[in-house]
Symmetry: C2
Subunit: 190 residues, 2 copies
């Protein structure tokens, strides 16, 4: 296949879109990130990349904790606001109408309106250059009853996920292309 060489850059998309809540009380802030991933199953950990120049960087490092909040499709306006403005200049809770709700295990509040809240304790900080990588251990998860199945677990068919694409656009999730680990069933003993 004929290919073009591009200059080195960050081009790993699509990605999740999360709003991280950090800091406490009147200083609690919100920051939208697409550079976030699960990184360890046991103990459960996830990682987020944040520029040291960002207001939220100091709040996360200072408190040693943060909450990763997953939006639904209807929250894209608030998501974009929290990714565009600095908490130095705006009270993002007031501007977006989002509600800080006390977390169970960490000092920063979680976002009441978002369907999934993941409370994390900061375990590692890895300076990489323009960004620091924060690795957090998942201490608690809250899921809206509206997106929970009858077994009490998150039902993906009820959650209107938001995806961040190559074109700096927010997207919904498209049609199913297949289930994972089908290969084992089709593979005939391979």
């Amino acid at each position: 296949m004929d290919k073009l060489a591009l200059a080195p850059a960050t081009c790993l998309y699509p990605a999740p879109v999360v709003v991280v809540s950090c800091g406490v009380g009147g200083r609690a802030n919100l920051i939208t990130l697409a550079w976030a991933a699960n990184v360890c199953a046991e103990p459960p950990q996830l990682a987020i990349a944040v520029r040291p120049t960002r207001h939220s960087h100091h709040l996360i490092a200072g408190e040693g904790a943060f909450v990763v909040n997953l939006p639904a499709a209807g929250h894209v306006g608030a998501v974009d606001f929290c990714g565009t403005f600095s908490g130095r200049d705006a009270d993002k809770w007031a501007e977006t109408g989002l509600t800080p709700v006390p977390s169970a295990k960490v000092p920063p509040p979680r976002i009441g309106e978002f369907p999934v809240n993941i409370e994390c304790a900061l375990r590692h900080t890895l300076p990489l250059g323009s960004h620091d990588l924060f690795v957090g251990e998942v201490l608690a998860i809250h899921v809206a009853r509206s997106v929970a199945g009858e077994d009490g677990r998150l039902d993906p068919d009820r959650l209107a996920s938001v995806v961040y694409g190559h074109g700096r656009s927010y997207h919904g999730l498209g049609g199913t292309l297949g289930k994972a680990y089908q290969a084992r069933r089709k593979g005939g003993g391979r």
Copy 2:
């Protein structure tokens, strides 16, 4: 909002789906991962999480390099195969029909058929428990002409991205919910 508390676990989805090529020559292998993210803009770096028990872990650590290959929707069968079987038991190149093509800057080959190949040199290894986090610096990027725009850059509208959802399913990208950084234009000077 009324919420349920779930036990701590990894639940940060949707996520990208990538196939990492690693190792060299007849030992070159393929591994499908959804735990992957951009983590630094300058120098450009990305991170992938891999269990030390996986065959590919040794190949990545041993070679100090890997290639992150982004699939198109038509590759889901091969993607699933590479995420289901171990390179100890199968020649995944032969089984999937994917072609190893020499990389420009690193020893492991890239996947000829996949529209985007990101060559990475291993810069950090962070043991986290069940998984190690590998941070790689992007040294070269190859993009199929079929997904490049007239400016030679990747055109997101031509790339049929694959997303991994909460339900362990592969998905296409859904409709656009909005462009990022619209808030600044709408915000009236905030």
